[in-house]
């Protein structure tokens, strides 16, 4: 067994052991039966014709239905764990991760960055929002029993709660080219206090603040004016809300939609607006997009973080309340 260092680890391990017990039971049972039959019914002479048995309906039903019920049980157990793993936690420390041939970048909500390492506090839910700048990767922490593909062009998320301080392996699990096996690193789980002091080192800028700067330096603010009078839709208080599009459908103003609109403004146009926005593809990095998203989140509705759909980073940083810089909305 690999080290158990997250809330999922124990249940996944129990499940794994249970399945092996079942496998051993069936394999040993069948192999034993075969050996028994082989010895007992070995061919005694060349002209032997054994008594023929066509089959037995009862047996067939029995050995179809019983395995099927067992299979349903396995399915249910697996689905339960999966549901937990893939339901986004309500309040979590949000870390943004980018995969790139062949390194992992992470950005913490207070702006701290790291490469090929990840520092997290123990006993707190940590949600990773991830994307790739090039090919497919997968973020795999065996000790936590979690893994999620990191896909270019979209955000994927995963979450975990570390239970034990320590340093664990981080692997890229989806083949990504020449140095795939070198795209590894470590995840360090620390006591919350230590994590705070780790964050304290170095100069940095919270993503939301960086995003606000980008918002004006890229001239987004000239069209997306705060009073709604600009040529683009007003983005204040919008994060997490439904937006009506010019083709009649609606879309949630979330990370994915913001990212798409920055890179590909023509994909989904808000009702009553024209497509005049240029694409920023090639001008902004994935990390900068994440900063813009963090900014838009920070000027979103005040109850951000109350619903699962938008666990806004600033609100989630409970223990960081002493750091006003992490709450840009307060700055405004």
């Amino acid at each position: 067994m690999p080290e158990q260092a997250s809330k999922f680890a124990l249940e996944v391990d129990l499940f794994y052991i249970a399945l092996w017990l079942m496998t051993i039971f069936f394999t040993v049972g069948i192999v034993a039966a075969i050996f028994l039959f082989m010895v007992k019914y070995r061919r005694r002479h060349d002209g032997e014709i054994p008594e023929q048995i066509e089959g037995a309906m009862t047996l067939e039903i029995l050995w179809s239905v019983i395995p099927f019920i067992m299979a349903l049980g396995i399915f249910a157990w697996g689905a339960k764990i999966y549901h937990e793993m893939y339901t986004e936690p309500k309040e979590a420390l949000e870390i943004f991760v980018t995969g790139k041939q062949w390194m992992w970048r992470a950005q913490h909500p207070d702006g701290q960055r790291e490469i090929n390492t990840l520092h997290i506090p123990v006993g707190r839910r940590v949600k990773l929002t991830m994307t790739s700048e090039d090919v497919l990767h997968a973020y795999f922490i065996p000790a936590f029993r979690t893994k999620a593909d990191v896909v270019p062009g979209r955000y994927t998320t995963t979450w975990f709660e570390a239970t034990k301080p320590g340093t664990y392996h981080l692997f890229c699990a989806e083949y990504c080219g020449t140095q795939h096996s070198g795209m590894i690193g470590t995840v360090t789980a620390m006591e919350p206090g230590e994590y705070e002091s780790w964050l304290g080192g170095g100069t940095k800028e919270p993503p939301a603040v960086a995003g606000e700067k980008l918002f004006s330096s890229l001239a987004c603010s000239t069209c997306h004016q705060a009073d709604g009078k600009g040529r683009g839709p007003k983005l204040v208080e919008l994060y997490g809300k439904e937006v009506k599009l010019n083709n009649g459908s609606t879309v949630t103003f979330d990370d994915t939609y913001i990212r798409e609109s920055v890179l590909d403004p023509g994909a989904k146009i808000v009702e009553n607006y024209q497509l005049i926005m240029p694409s920023f593809r090639g001008q902004v990095s994935e990390e900068q997009i994440a900063q813009i998203i963090a900014y838009l989140k920070s000027i979103g509705p005040k109850d951000a973080g109350a619903t699962a759909a938008k666990p806004a980073a600033p609100a989630a940083v409970k223990s960081a309340a002493a750091k006003p810089a992490a709450v840009p909305s307060a700055k405004k």
């Binding site: 083709n247 023509g266 994909a267 146009i269 497509l275």
Partner: protein, 212 residues
Amino acid sequence: MEQQKEAGTIGMWLFLLTEIMFFGGLFLAYSIYRAKYPDGFLQGSHLLSVPLGGLNTVVLIVSSLTMAMGVHYSQLGERKKLLGFLALTLVLGSVFLIVKYFEYKEKFEHHLFPAYWTYHPAADHPPTQYHGHVQVFLWIYFMMTGLHALHMIIGIALLLVIMFMAYRGKFTKEYNSPVEIFGLYWHFVDIVWIFLFPLLYLTGFHVSSGGH
């Protein structure tokens, strides 16, 4: 003889099943990207000529009729009528390909072939901001109609063989399964077009006429 005919017919049906799955992959891609880029598909479909596409649709439907007549007369053993209808089918099939050639040519001239080295659409046709999404539409258009055209070319080659056999008097009332089996293939290629035409050409049709 009966067994051979049965084998040929089952074989052709199985082959068409394969073909359905082959085109099916593209239809899947079509539906996914159309849902993803509705406006790009709308703009892309404006680039296609509905009159030419419509003409080709009629041409193919009529060619299916002439093919069916050919099969009918092959069963009656009437060699001349069989040859006549096969020739008509051949002409119609060729007309389709010629029209398709001019459609493709026009796309190439307007730099609308989606390959990176040639794709430079005019500034406002389609509107600049849609160039990326229209490119997706266009590769689907070229791949689907291109594979369909390839099937037409193969069909015409086979048709020539069938006609040569008919000319040599190979087919009789009793033996005509090659004509019949080839007919299945021809009808299949027509049916694929019947799906392609509305999906590719008519996507933007009612919207643009209904005022956008």
